[in-house]
């Protein structure tokens, strides 16, 4: 039984005519790191909301099909139960600051206070989570005084402290500068290495190629393709449909058309491209 199971999920926001998700079927196994890609309007954020229970419980609207995570059905749960199992973080770090707390330590404890965790356990868990994400030094700062990257790490920590079984991230680095991006990716990677099941919407293709177990390409509310990063990210279908792809892939594709790329597999990362261009002909690049 897959950890996450979407069966024929179709969803329409209230007062709209077209469904944003159309007959989505996908599975995620426990401990997998799934990257989700797609052009604007493909339904990536809606997919994240569906994983996290906000679709349909927060947004209402019309849903059909079944969403299951960790053996529980979304249709049989309430949002306040579901969020204990699935954590959600999204693009704008500022909007994820609760506003209810004056220090980062308290901000992270906010979720635990809400679910009634006893005081001693709370302190330990917050300490543990902050150590995990490397923000111990921010404990006494006001969340509003932090940089974007720091705020996003605080947001992640606030979610992780609740010990979700599934972590859903909707473009967490889109609004970050390069330093912030690196900081956030660092945390996400650490979570993945510790065995957390992660579904992340991300555009940074080279990063996906390194860390994702599988890639799901979403287009117009449907699953266009899914599979290993190197298969999906180098497929010809992607640029046709308006997906952003790695520049190394497009360069190599053009080289391939001119007979200058001799490997079977197109590269995604700089490393693969370099290897492919410099190795002595024939065979796959990995």
């Amino acid at each position: 039984m897959a950890f996450v199971n979407f069966q024929n999920v179709t969803y329409k926001y209230p007062l709209t005519k077209t469904p944003v998700l159309k007959n989505i079927n996908l599975q995620v196994n426990e401990g997998e790191f799934i990257a989700v890609m797609g052009p604007n309007g493909a339904g990536k954020s809606t997919l994240c909301y569906a994983l996290a229970g906000f679709v349909p419980h927060f947004f209402k609207g019309e849903i059909s099909g079944e969403i299951e995570v960790d053996g529980k059905k979304s249709s049989e749960s309430t949002l306040d139960e579901w969020v204990l199992n699935v954590g959600l973080a999204f693009q704008n770090p500022f909007n994820q600051i609760s506003g209810a707390k004056y220090t980062v330590f308290e901000e992270i404890a906010f979720g635990l206070e809400n679910i009634g965790v006893p005081r001693n356990e709370m302190k330990d868990r917050v300490d543990e989570a902050m150590a995990l994400t490397g923000i111990r030094d921010l404990a006494d700062r006001s969340p509003y005084s932090l940089s974007g990257g720091q705020q996003q790490r605080v947001a992640l920590t606030s979610i992780l402290v609740m010990r979700p079984r599934l972590l859903v991230l909707d473009e967490p680095t889109s609004q970050m500068d390069p330093i912030g991006t690196r900081e956030v990716f660092g945390v996400v990677r650490k979570m993945a290495e510790e065995g957390m099941t992660v579904v992340m919407v991300e555009h940074k293709v080279e990063w996906i190629a390194h860390f994702a177990d599988r890639v799901i390409a979403l287009n117009e509310g449907q699953v266009l393709m899914e599979g290993k990063p190197n298969e999906v990210l180098t497929a010809d279908l992607l640029p046709e449909k308006g997906f952003g792809i790695s520049r190394y892939t497009s360069v190599a594709r053009q080289a391939q058309q001119q007979g200058l790329w001799k490997q079977k597999q197109l590269p995604v990362t700089l490393f693969e491209a370099a290897e492919g261009f410099t190795s002595k002909g024939g065979g796959g690049s990995n």
């Binding site: 609760s98 635990l112 809400n114």
Partner: protein, 259 residues
């Protein structure tokens, strides 16, 4: 960066150590006594003697006096002047200024009225100086205030300075684009829309995401909430609260009995 709106100053004083509810009750006692006690000079004594002593007890004397001089005294003086000149009571005119006059009665009325306001505002000021908002909210939540109220109050206190800063930015930006904020009435009225618009719309679109963010952290959880910080409530506190309640009842009682 003014990221929080809080008068609270961290000191080590008797008032700081008191439970927030006790301090609230103290404020209430001061206000009710000033407004209800039948003895005429009560508000004056409270304002001029008792409250400054209280501020010293709370080790916030300097801050209180600076607030008093900057904000409270001017407001009270204005009020006093308005009341003294315009209250149509009394016959015995003791001061004249062109067509305005102050009678003995209106003077006394205005004086005690102003003092009452001073007591009210000062009491709250000292309370705010010696109590941290999150401490107050934690304590009230523990006593049964719904968590959503605590959320709203603290959130407002943090958002206010941000909103004011945003407003400043928008005013500067629009001014540099040629918006006129001085001049004729219609010019100034017309400036409203380009100033209010960006301010309001920018803030309203944040709401959905923030609602999702706090839901994701269990805001609507049905569990009994716990609190990270423990706010002490000593026997001194409890005793003090009984005493203050007795004082309030006495004030009310005296008032009714003597009227």
């Amino acid at each position: 960066m003014p990221e929080r709106l809080s008068f609270h100053i961290k000191r080590d004083s008797a008032l700081h150590h008191l439970n927030p509810l006790t301090k609230l009750l103290l404020v209430l006692t001061l206000i009710l006594t000033a407004f209800l006690a039948p003895f005429y000079w009560t508000p004056h004594i409270l304002a001029v003697l008792f409250i400054p002593l209280l501020s010293i007890l709370g080790k916030v004397g300097r801050e209180y006096f600076s607030t008093a001089i900057r904000l409270i005294l001017p407001a009270a003086t204005f009020l006093f002047a308005m009341q003294a000149f315009f209250q149509p009571v009394g016959e015995e005119i003791i001061f004249e200024f062109y067509f305005l006059d102050i009678t003995r009665e209106s003077f006394l009325f205005a004086f005690s009225n102003a003092m009452r306001i001073v007591v009210m505002v000062s009491a709250f000021t000292i309370f705010l100086l010696t109590t941290h908002p999150s401490e107050l909210m934690s304590d009230l939540t523990r006593r049964g205030l719904p968590g959503q109220f605590a959320y709203v109050i603290i959130s407002t206190l943090q958002i206010l300075p941000q909103m004011q800063a945003k407003a400043q930015t928008i005013i500067s930006a629009q001014r540099s684009r040629g918006l006129e904020t001085e001049g004729g009435f219609f010019k100034r009225a017309g400036a409203l829309v380009p100033l209010i618009g960006p301010l309001v719309f920018g803030s309203l679109v944040e709401v959905e995401e923030r609602a999702i963010a706090i839901e994701a952290r269990g805001f609507t959880s049905k569990h009994v909430k716990t609190s990270l910080h423990e706010i002490p409530d000593t026997s001194t506190d409890k005793l003090l609260r009984w005493f203050l309640t007795a004082l309030i009842l006495a004030s009310i009682g005296l008032r009714i009995w003597l009227s």
